[in-house]
Assembly symmetry: D2
């Protein structure tokens, strides 16, 4: 694993747990973790149970005891590391967004395609597909329970930037993060919407905004940023604080997306609703064990959105966990991701979501940025086949 | 009152009730109701307690016992009736949308301005301002409880057109209704958003769609439509089924709007959320006695969206109603509208929302249609001062 | 109508509205209202549209233009007025609880039975049966959708007595109110639970409590209380602040009841849930347009409590009101009660709930008080046939 | 650890994770797990990372590499194992309920007291105290935010016994489980209610019921039950299906408890609400990352139950987990329990809840059974000091 901050801890928890809970054809071994700060990465390895610590990701890739490289760094290094790992014959899991630019993502998808021919697996880490509730939703859409799709509306709202004194971290600089709320939150909801709908977004019209343009700089040593403080000690935010876009899916369904870090009081409010001719589904990440479902084929007298508690033994991933009503948490997405990836590796099957899927999301994000720059004009998304749309998603590991 | 269908019944209930519940300087008398079908309008007058029935709205306006004309007809006749009523020295209440075109709305706003100089009152019927919860929300925004506004997101979702066999009523024809979900639902949410925000929308980027383009024609006699059935007996829908638009408020806050009649399972889901630097508010018309409020100035440890049951004696309009927890319904908006209008008439004060406010909404809707025609390009809204933004809204009657 | 406070206003609204909204065989006329304070009752008559005002209820009953007497006074006068009205050949609507004692209620039920033979109708005002949601729930239970009933749990929580400075009103004195939360709130939930379950409570075990035993006296003139202030100017609360009881229904289903005026933050939280072998229902008066339903015969994978918005045209009482999603309020229960009573009068049919039903509730309340006095020992409820349990409740008017 | 079924898996997850997430003075080592079936326990040890497997709990206790014995067996063996472990100088964690009888629990509490003098720690596994939301609730009560407590109402509802074909497992036989819903679910809610209230229940009045008295027997080999099938192949359920009881807390606050496995559609609905003079709290285990709080000292105009998302860094246990809004799951209670226990062991401090606390819960359950047998008469709970009531609960480890 490369990277050892928030995502590193979450992935570690997934890797450590998956073989203890699920029956797996192969049990993951936490061979080595890599970070630039030798002391910190050593402490992290001890804490999380990694057998070794490295400070150079090239050394990590070169290790014989490493079969799979899990990339948890900021987006600007994804392409370089992933390409090197694939070239070295490793399987790869890469955190989202796949890359900071479409060009990088294209190179990665091509490399993954070539590596697939050699039996290598490359997955992108859109972990919100791995919740029982979203996975159940995907199955229900694929079963035709919604019929012709009319609307998809998604928001991903957080509020940690509302305070103008919040410092200028790497997530607020374009050279590291690629974009702001768009790449961080927007990438999640574009992927989740396409996954659930089973079809790609084909065009968008977008507005983006940076509400607070100057922020205090954090201690230089730790930030690794190139931002230069101005006369008042502030640095410039070079990414979006919020991104709103409408769009069309391939089938003609309409979509509404909103990603923001300025939605006061909303902590992690990824909410998605799909309306089809035969039914609707709604999900809220802040209540992640629940799925709302309206069956429009029922008589109106008794119809309504029902709250499915997605904790039954026959719900996705639940055979391995607790009795009905005993909910899972955020981190379980990483355990499930590890499960699906290990299954794909063992079976030498194309993983979902693949790097091609990650590229497709990247193309939507690029169209969003292009539209925002061009006065919100409707901007088509470059066409890429989405491999994520198979109904048998979990079978397709 | 002109018009006697759904809106006519709702307004009748408001007029009949207001003087029984509130202390009013003048008590309304239900003098006469007007409709084209003599028998039907007579029956309606008996049912709802109107003293007389007319079949020609000009005759209604000519009556000496009529001081105020309440226009509840489809949008294509609003301008003609309102202009005539104002010219005849009557006060006017006109259902929303104010008109089907900006030109008509401009003429009406000008006539209202001229009539105001003669002591006449002209109000547009955006009844959702008259809920205790929305009125409380307006007060809280005006008090500065949200601070600098960052986001406003609004949806108004219904599902009565999902069935392709639903017939082609007047609401689906441009020549009568002006537009579809946009004018019917979108007008409500544009007004409500501007009212709550206390500032106008200054530009929009829009997508509209008609999902089902051909529908069965209803019995010709009753429909009064000019639509000609095609070879299969179907007629053409000439309005939008759904309208999505993003936009900016004068202060730079971002807005997201969605109006649809294809959101399966959503019956009357007008939902609005405002996020400001100091707090947030959320409201859902399907739970109309509640207002959600997050106070961001509180310590995060104990903060969260609270559900205010807007039924306390000191909440707007509640001094006249029931004890705490005994909720009101949809129709009370019309009683409150009647209350506010009677107060305005008695005090010879400019009503809120005025025809100028209705014109402003119309201009936003026109910008939406223009943007949708121009590939969603960001389209400025023609500038009109909004008179609805005073903090002391109810005092401003 | 006798009595003109909160209940008087609510009933007036119902009588005034019912004929304007529903098709009725006979249209109610608001002939006269009665109260002890001549000036106040005159003002109330003007306000609410009563043609005449009386200060002696015997004079009201003696009027030839009065066919039906609606009793909205405190419980200590119900029996005397109702018996006189029935003796005078009038139809009667009596507010709940039917009486302050079982003995009074028995006399009333007997008189009503005798009057029924003369074509007179006597109904008790358990208005919460008249909500579309509760009425739909009753229909669903009667259709067998819950199967064998296992549990009924009900709370009715308010908080207006939490403040120890709240004054000693008539509702806090046994000689006027009979009991406290028990008779005021408990009567409602016992009736509603028996109505929905379709069977009587046959035994109870109870705890009651008076948390604040001394309260400031209100101005003597207006209170009409016999309470004598103590040395500190306080008077004694002689009723319960809260009553909790468990019990059994005739079928063996278990029940849990709680009524309190000390549940801080709960304004009018009448919540009821029924669990049966085949399904469950839940209702909350603070969201009175909604009914929660779990269908246990569905596959668990997609099952869950659904929120039925009880606003469809085929829902109870809704044919007369607004389109789907446009909710009703508390006061509509009185309009519906008037509707059902007028139908019963016109058809000369036994009304539901009858005085016998009111007596049955009274007997449950008496058993609660007896159990509370006897150290909570399980206390059977005297057996009375409940006439309210027919599945075709609305047909049984 | 003794026992390796559902609870064994959950505890394993806790022990394995705690040192990876929290900073601990001592890191737990999973030394050995014990069960009667050698093959099964060996497989479980491999799966969950236990270094060794034993088939005799006496052998486990005798091991030098075992410092702490975690008892996850059915209640009938708790006392024997715990007493032996304490006698052997081990620390003990014992699953709830502490024992199947008060006598056993008394012996265990005495042994724990004696062992405490030797520096041993004995904790009972009421894991629902270890949720961030319940722990926050406890802190808020201790801070005086509720003021004088008036009401505590708690339900713990499941539905897995609704189907009469569900087999007769050990949980349905008195000789193994002690009691039914009462000991399984009731123990949890009695403990949680006393913990949150900070005071003991002093008396109860109870009803219990067994709805389905005969059930099919499972395969004899696996069940280890002594039940003998009747002529029809069915065996007898000898525990309660549901238990309802009201009661009083030491302060005079009233309590309502309901535990059932027949609440159709409720999967794990542990719901608790506390109403005090100054505020209220509500919690629902099916939404375990949320706490509802009403602050009654605020002006009523803006007051209401707020939903605190208990995922902030300063919320209990959250410093070790994810960013705001990224919720935890059921199993985290066991990680937190392990954390608190390790801290207690390292500091040689009395753990909370202690065996004395477990005994107190047992006494309440015994009073419930006694009351249910005696016609629900109010039955005092034998007095034991509750050590769990300190405000500084986490500091008291």
């Amino acid at each position: 694993m490369v990277g050892y901050a928030f995502m590193g801890a979450a992935h570690s928890q997934g890797w450590r747990t998956v073989g203890r809970v699920f029956d797996l054809p192969r049990r993951p071994v936490l061979a080595a973790v890599c970070g630039r700060d030798a002391e910190a990465v050593r402490a992290m390895a001890d804490r999380h149970g990694w057998a070794a610590a490295e400070t150079d990701w090239r050394a990590l890739i070169a290790r014989d005891d490493v079969d799979l490289v899990d990339i948890c760094t900021p987006g600007d290094s994804h392409a370089e590391i992933a390409l090197a790992a694939l070239a070295a014959g490793k399987h790869v899991l890469c955190e989202k967004p796949l890359a900071n630019t479409v060009e990088e993502a294209e190179a990665m998808a091509e490399a993954a395609e070539a590596a697939a021919a050699r039996g290598q697996v490359a997955m992108v880490g859109f972990n919100y597909r791995r919740l029982p509730a979203t996975s159940l939703a995907r199955t229900m859409v694929a079963e035709g329970r919604l019929g012709t799709l009319r609307h998809v509306r998604v928001t991903y709202l957080q509020d940690w930037l509302v305070d103008p004194e919040f410092p200028l971290t790497w997530r607020l600089r374009r050279e590291r993060a690629g974009s702001g709320a768009l790449g961080d939150l927007g990438a999640h909801i574009v992927d989740l919407a396409q996954y659930l709908a089973g079809e790609p977004v084909v065009g968008v019209s977008a507005l983006t905004e940076t509400f607070v343009r100057q922020r205090p700089l954090p201690a230089a040593a730790s930030s690794g940023l190139s931002a230069v403080p101005d006369a008042t000690g502030l640095g410039t935010v070079t990414v979006d604080d919020a991104a709103l876009f409408t769009g069309r899916f391939a089938s003609g369904a309409l979509a509404s997306f909103e990603a923001s870090r300025f939605a006061t009081g909303r902590k992690n409010a990824l909410r998605i609703e799909l309306n089809g001719e035969r039914g609707s589904l709604a999900f809220d990440l802040e209540r992640l064990n629940e799925l709302s479902y309206h069956d429009h084929t029922e008589p109106g007298t008794h119809a309504g959105f029902r709250r499915i508690l997605v904790t039954e033994p026959d719900h996705p991933y639940l055979e391995a966990w607790w009795p009905p009503g005993h909910g899972l948490g955020y981190e379980h997405t990483f355990t499930h991701q590890a499960h699906d990836l290990v299954q794909a590796v063992a079976a030498a099957r194309r993983p979902v979501p693949s790097f091609a899927d990650g590229l497709q999301v990247q193309r939507v994000l690029a169209a969003v940025e292009e539209s925002a720059e061009k006065n919100s004009v409707y901007t088509p998304v470059a066409a890429t086949p989405v491999t994520a749309t198979s109904p048998a998603v979990r079978g397709d590991l």
